[in-house]
């Protein structure tokens, strides 16, 4: 036990004060003559012995309060058992397992250095092994068994995820707080510069953490990678498919690099690409010979370089026949089929066919067989059909509703349920027609539609969009186009019809891209191939969606989700590069390509100065320096000052209560 501020023990001299006061007030038995003691009893209360005891107790309480106060300020402490210098510290061996560690012999060097460091541990010292890529993974418990640590080191394998020193530093700060012991963190990494955070302050370590860096990479080797590929996700005509790839070089000299297009494991084409020194180049492939269904494609660097893991860029393409649009028309909207089909037929790519039926026929909805459903001025829907459409939308389907004259009398919009306010007639306004006033230009339906220049609406059906997203409004404020998400799917409402009765839209050129882009959007063909990096999250369902299970198969064929997770989780972390199969049920399947984060491709090292700054952000200097020992000592010592202070406070309260009893009696006596 020791005292942090022994000078305060001088306050013990104050103990003389209550002693002196009590001596002064000590009862002196001065005889006093009294006429007769006949009426006095030899009673405990009449005796002063109880008062003597009270005085002694009061004296003891006051002495104790002063003594505790003096001790509290002197800050006594106890050393924790077994806390010799440095013996309480934990050695944490952190091995970088990010994708860049696949380059050359970096991982091998890291393992070797880690094994050496474990061998240097003293007997009884505790150590722990962790891997890190985008976050820290503790592999072992803090143990004093070097063999267990060595086994964990030998088992380290480089993955596909990127590294983040910012996340590592944050994890080390949390680790030190949890451990409540000094931490000596040994980092075995290639010290990749691209893994540094944006702000250097994110690298700061706690005062009790000492960082020892072991560089597994000695220089920035030349490396080539396919940085990105633009390719259609779905196509109907393989010959017309166009892929554009960006090839980047790091620490390289200018070189011509062969780049291959690989389809389902077969090289479909190879082209030489001149990549400038530390620059980028573009390569294009036309035509993609793929079978129907999903195909696994990649653009690959054929040259040998430092890091092979980033030589492939995976993408998936689904070939299908033109998809069927189920067009259900109301009793007065039969002409809308003609305009709709004509617009689709005039589109550059024939991606859809239209199957038109009267909405009164209540056809079966087969989600796997149709791209989406169009309801053209359907009027009052058959309840069974409406329920089937709602189920279809919730399951991920899309319905495009055009509100015409038959719909103006409805109380609510079919399928989506918004309240219908009635028709609005432009002939009652000044211009006798409505025009587009505002629109979301980024919405697929509005792209290349020239803002519906010159389009005139004579009659619209006004509905209350509620929480739906309004895409476009007319000049009278009527939402002319809005989208509502229901479950996994969506409903798009067009507050006019597709023929030239309520508007002259079908007569304008902008009608074609409007119909084509909207159709592609609703069919899901607007989606570009997702650019997922290993270690990121892929959304499976909307947060509030209650749909059936989603099965996810990892590139190695294993299930990425448990049964419970497949029914519940909104997203899955794609840890490995390759293709993930996502089965959503009802025949809906897709391939999700996952690539290594291209930041791992740049093998440039962190400058020495930066490394030195990073190391210095923890406990300063090597073990044995004053600051490090001071920090370690502070952790080892258990300070009781606050406890003594509380005890003094408690006794002071007791003393107050006890002495007030005597004060009351003294007042009564007086």
């Amino acid at each position: 036990m020791g005292l942090l501020a022994p000078g305060f023990l001088a306050a013990f001299a104050l103990l003389g004060l209550p002693l002196w006061l009590h001596l002064l007030k000590r009862h002196k038995s001065i005889p006093l003559e009294f006429s007769s003691l006949m009426l006095f009893e030899r009673h405990a209360i009449s005796s002063v012995k109880s008062r003597k005891l009270d005085y002694l107790i009061l004296l003891a309480l006051r002495l104790a309060v002063l003594a505790l106060l003096a001790l509290a300020f002197a800050q006594p402490f106890l050393e924790r058992q077994g806390a010799a210098a440095g013996s309480g510290a934990v050695r944490l061996f952190v091995i970088d397992v990010s994708a860049s560690m696949n380059a050359g012999d970096r991982l091998e060097r890291a393992r070797k250095d880690a094994l050496q460091a474990i061998g240097a541990m003293k007997s009884g010292e505790r150590g722990q092994v962790a891997y890190f890529d985008r976050q820290l993974h503790l592999v072992t418990q803090p143990v004093a068994d070097p063999e267990a640590l060595r086994a964990a080191v030998r088992a380290a394998r480089a993955g596909d995820e990127r590294s983040s020193y910012g996340e590592l530093s944050k994890a080390l700060r949390g680790y030190a707080t949890t451990t409540k012991a000094p931490v000596e963190a040994h980092l075995f990494s290639d010290m990749q510069r691209s893994a540094l955070p944006d702000g250097f302050s994110e690298l700061s370590l706690g005062a009790t953490t000492k960082l020892v860096l072991h560089k597994a990479g000695s220089r920035a080797e030349a490396n080539f990678t396919v940085e990105n590929v633009q390719a259609p996700r779905r196509l109907q005509d393989p010959a017309k498919a166009r892929m554009e790839a960006i090839v980047a070089g790091f620490a390289n000299d200018a070189a011509t690099v062969p780049i291959s297009l690989v389809v389902n494991g077969r090289v479909a084409a190879t082209k030489p690409v001149a990549v400038p020194a530390k620059g980028k180049a573009k390569v294009e492939f036309i035509g993609l010979d793929v079978p129907y269904g999903w195909s696994r494609c990649e653009v690959r660097v054929e040259a040998r370089d430092a890091l092979a893991a980033d030589d492939n860029f995976y993408f998936a393409v689904e070939r299908s026949d033109p998809r069927k649009i189920l067009f259900l028309y109301g009793p007065r909207a039969q002409r809308s089929v003609l305009y709709f089909q004509s617009a689709l037929g005039a589109a550059a790519e024939a991606a859809f066919t239209v199957e038109a039926q009267s909405s009164s026929l209540a056809p079966q909805i087969n989600p796997a067989a149709i791209a989406f459903v169009v309801l053209s001025d359907p009027g009052e829907l058959n309840p069974g059909l409406e329920a089937a459409l709602q189920a279809y939308v919730k399951g991920g389907g899309a319905v495009w509703i055009a509100l015409g004259t038959s719909s103006s009398a409805l109380r609510k919009v079919p399928v989506s349920g918004e309240a219908v306010k009635g028709s609005r007639f432009a002939n009652r306004s000044g211009d006798r027609f409505f025009t587009l006033a505002s629109a979301d230009e980024n919405y697929p339906s509005m792209r290349r539609a020239n803002r519906w220049e010159g389009v005139r609406f004579f009659q619209t059906v006004s509905a209350d969009p509620g929480e739906a997203k309004v895409v476009a409004r007319l000049n009278d404020g009527t939402p002319i186009l809005y989208e509502k998400r229901i479950g996994e799917g969506r409903v798009l409402v067009f507050a006019s019809d597709f023929d030239n009765t309520a508007s002259d839209f079908p007569l304008h050129a902008s009608f074609v891209p409007f119909v084509e882009q909207t159709s592609r959007y609703l069919a899901g063909e607007e989606e570009r191939a997702p650019l997922l990096a290993a270690g990121t999250a892929y959304e499976l369902r909307a947060a509030d969606a209650r749909v059936s299970s989603v099965e996810v198969i990892a590139p190695d064929g294993s299930r990425a989700l448990s049964l419970e997770e497949s029914a519940r989780v909104p997203a899955v972390i794609v840890e490995k590069r390759g293709f993930y199969e996502v089965n959503r049920g009802a025949g809906r399947q897709e391939l999700v390509p996952v690539n290594i984060d291209r930041r791992e491709s740049n093998l440039e090292l962190i400058p020495e100065e930066s490394l030195a700054l990073w190391q210095g952000s923890g406990s300063e200097g090597a073990p044995g320096t004053a600051a490090a020992e001071e920090a370690e000592t502070a952790l080892r010592r258990q300070n009781f000052g606050l406890g003594f202070l509380w005890a003094a406070l408690a006794l002071a309260v007791v003393e107050s209560l006890w002495s007030s009893r005597h004060l009351t009696m003294t007042k009564e006596t007086a």
Partner: protein, 295 residues
């Protein structure tokens, strides 16, 4: 105005018991004269031939002018009676806290009553006692009796312990005449025993008055701190806590006074508590009530 003459401290400062008694009585009577409701009778009763030594103030000079003989007027209430004052002069009567000593107060009260009685032509006597009879002046109304009585009172200083039994046994044998017996004491004995000892005096046809003289500090002692109390008569010592004195003792004292009063009155004795910080008129008033009742 009257109170100035009756304040015990002031009276004690006079230092002359005779003067003190006279001051008290004159002041008391002058107050009585101005109080028509008091009931003190000044009604003329008879003439009595003047004897040498009688107070010339009571000579009826009209009669002397007519008859050249001196006669004293006698009034109602002036019927002679015997007043015997029994004064406790035990050591406990020497107690004093700030005011006057109990013995001094008792002497002043006794002297005043004696003076008043003598003023009314009563035969006054005094017996002082502690555990024995210490002084005795037989009741008489002769010339020079009052100074003898006052002298006996003056030389009464606190002596030995209180013991009612032996003196009062003697009194029972000795007091063969009927009259008023005034017992002045602090009565530190069980009330039952006191009354049992004194009551026989009543049975012999005497009117007995008990003057219970106590210092206020005896009734409500104020001990600021624990004190070692020493019994003035026995020398016994007892350490007493202020809380006890403030609570239990006061209750016991009040109970003792109440019991003594109750026992006394039950036995036909008059009882008056005299606190040494109170004027002496209460003592005189009590004597007159008893004497008036006797007439």
């Amino acid at each position: 105005m009257e109170q100035r003459f009756l304040d015990p401290k002031v009276l004690a400062g006079l230092g002359n018991l005779a003067l003190t008694a006279r001051t008290v009585v004159d002041g008391f009577i002058s107050g009585l004269h101005r109080s028509p409701d008091f009931g003190f009778s000044q009604e003329f009763a008879e003439y009595r031939p003047y004897s040498l030594g009688d107070d010339l103030r009571y000579v009826d000079w009209n009669v002397f002018a007519r008859t050249e003989r001196a006669y004293l007027k006698r009034y109602r209430g002036e019927t002679n009676t015997r007043l015997t004052i029994l004064l406790d002069r035990s050591r406990s009567m020497g107690f004093q806290r700030g005011g006057v000593r109990k013995i001094d107060y008792a002497r002043m009260a006794a002297a005043s009553v004696a003076y008043l009685g003598h003023h009314q032509r009563d035969a006054v006597g005094v017996i002082t006692f502690d555990d024995e009879v210490r002084d005795f002046v037989a009741p008489s109304s002769r010339h020079g009796q009052l100074p003898r009585v006052l002298h006996a009172l003056e030389r009464s200083e606190p002596g030995a312990r209180t013991d009612f039994a032996r003196p009062f046994h003697y009194f029972q044998e000795f007091l063969r005449w009927r009259g008023v017996v005034l017992v002045v004491s602090d009565f530190y004995a069980p009330p039952v025993d006191i009354v049992k000892t004194i009551a026989p005096l009543r049975h012999r046809g005497n009117d007995v008055i008990l003057f219970h003289v106590l210092d206020p500090e005896e009734i409500e002692p104020k001990l600021g701190e624990p004190r070692l109390l020493v019994d003035m008569e026995t020398g016994e010592q007892l350490e007493v806590a202020p809380e006890y004195a403030a609570d239990f003792y006061q209750k016991r004292m009040a109970a003792h006074i109440a019991e003594l009063k109750k026992e006394a009155e039950a036995a036909g004795l008059s009882y008056q508590l005299l606190q040494t910080d109170r004027p002496l008129d209460e003592a005189l008033r009590e004597y007159l009530i008893v004497r008036q009742g006797r007439l």
